[in-house]
């Protein structure tokens, strides 16, 4: 954590630490998002605003509905109800690939490296508006070669930034778990998103690589992107987030700066269990 609080963190310092609170400059605004599986209320979010240019950590115990909420927002799951806008545009019910093209790109908890494609092809695939992706145009290489070369240069630049350039021609399936996380993050950047949604980017990554991943996440914010990420590890979340949202049983139970959340009794309840917390209070 940098000693100097970021500009975004300062702008959030005055925001009240209460669930559903409005932010000064929200990029994502969601209201009444509900999703049930049978009788189970997986997601029941009344209101959430995500501040533009900030790193927002989404925490909560297992089964709190974080990933389902992610899936709904990114078009991978259909909600029972709910409206949300991204960058002022209504996004509710939009197909997943259109969400990505609109600039909201996600990664997955279980990494989805495209195994039997090279690392470089994984990267190049992700560029949007490729002329050669249209059927007829793809048959005439001169139509798309120049763009392909630009894309390749950009992909190589990103691979270099993520220290993966030496793997460019390897099959993605040969990468280690941590390298796949890096590849997924780098690949998401090829889409040139305005907001990156990372689903447990540190899960199953060794501590050394965790540090480098954390560096990359803050790097995204410093480049002006908005980051929303799901994470279990509280230390990680508190270390890099500008704002933390805590979910439990599908609902948002608390929001605030990392310091405020660390002391929030609701959050402690959700994580450690109510009884134990009350016993501690009594003693």
């Amino acid at each position: 954590m940098s000693a100097e609080p970021s500009a975004v963190a300062r702008s959030l310092a005055d925001v009240a630490a209460e669930p559903g609170v409005s932010k000064p400059d929200p990029i994502l605004v969601a209201a009444d998002v509900r999703k049930t599986f049978g009788g189970l209320r997986a997601v029941d979010v009344e209101a959430l605003e995500v501040q533009r240019g900030a790193i927002t950590g989404l925490i909560g115990p297992n089964g709190a509905g974080k990933t389902t909420f992610f899936n709904v927002l990114t078009g991978f799951d259909r909600p029972d109800s709910g409206r949300w806008t991204f960058d002022g545009k209504p996004m509710s019910g939009m197909a997943a690939h259109k969400v990505a093209r609109a600039g909201m790109v996600r990664t997955f908890q279980l990494t989805k490296a495209l195994g039997r494609m090279s690392v470089l092809d994984n990267m190049k695939l992700a560029a949007v508006d490729q002329r050669g992706e249209r059927f007829l145009a793809s048959l005439v290489p001169p139509l798309w070669r120049p763009q392909e070369q630009e894309i390749e240069a950009r992909a190589e630049g990103l691979l270099e930034y993520f220290n993966m350039i030496h793997m460019r021609d390897e099959f993605a399936a040969t990468l280690s778990g941590g390298q796949r996380k890096l590849l997924e993050m780098a690949r998401a950047l090829m889409v040139e998103p305005t907001m990156v949604m990372l689903d447990e980017p540190m899960a199953g990554v060794n501590p050394a690589l965790t540090q480098s991943l954390l560096g990359h996440v803050t790097g995204l914010r410093d480049e002006g992107m908005t980051v929303l990420f799901v994470e279990h590890d509280m230390d990680v979340v508190m270390g890099i987030s500008d704002w933390v949202v805590c979910m439990a049983q599908g609902q948002i139970i608390a929001e605030g700066t990392p310091d405020a959340i660390a002391q929030n009794p609701e959050v402690i309840d959700a994580y450690l269990g109510r009884r134990r917390h009350h016993e501690e209070e009594r003693s």
């Binding site: 990505a100 990664t107 039997r116 494609m117 249209r134 099959f171 889409v191």
Partner: protein
Amino acid sequence: MDPAAIIANALRAALGPSAAAYALLAIGLNFHFGYTGLLNFGQVGFMLLGAYGVAITVTVFGGSLWLGFAVSLLLAVGLALLLGAPTLRLRADYLAITTIAAAEILRFSFRASPSRDLTGGVFGLSGFAEEFNALNPFTSGIQFGFLAYNQRQLWVLTVGWSLVALAVLLTYLLSRSPWGRALKAIREDEDAARSLGKNVFGYKMQSLVLGGVIGALGGVVFALNLQSVHPDTFLPLLTFYFYTILILGGAATVLGPVVGSVLFWFLMAGMDATLRQAGAAGYMPDWFGADALGAVRFLVVGIGLMLLMIYRPQGIFGDRRELALNVR
């Protein structure tokens, strides 16, 4: 036993019109299964529509051969859209079930007696190849060594293998383009492709239509070669031959389906000739009659294919490294 005659028979089949037709069907399937990962178990349905499209247009409606071609291809596009629209948003297994059922529905409806006026029912249709035969530029047959084709066969071969060459060129161009890259990404993980802004449904549909149309071309070549069509030619078994050919040659490779088809026909015809000659020469036990021959041929070819899969599981052109990867 006459080894030269056996080889001649096998080679004739391996380079023959049926091998070209099967190669086209396998190339179509390669787009579905090899590149996009679509489990189409009804490729024979596209073959049927290709064959009958020409046959019905020419014999029943008196249209020209070219109109017949167009009808065949349009029918294939229609079938692909019909199959794809409800199933391509679902998991892969649904397409598999739907396609195998659709191919059988087509076969049964074409052979049913109420459709006799249109399809000839169980008797099928014939006499639609005159225009094709009349276009034949060759004035005599050809003979290199022990390999002989007559004038008509030569014409079918020229058309058949030219279409194969075109389809191979198409595969080559597409598989090396960003379009082909998107297909492969969908094969690997369609959610990942979706998360990167790719219209997965659209690509799957394009792949299904393209592979179906190429398969229908295979049906056209098949019908023009035989000069007649019968519904019971188009058994589900054929789709599994096309899979065998594709995997034999190497799925998701450019030349795999072609070489697979040549090899498949070489093995089938070669084994047929060998067993026939062995029977005639009295090497076979008494119970070995004409029925047994067919069964034993499949048995031996089956064992051969199993050995190939054991020792070269990636097919002739496949990349072994790819197979060793633990995908997912």
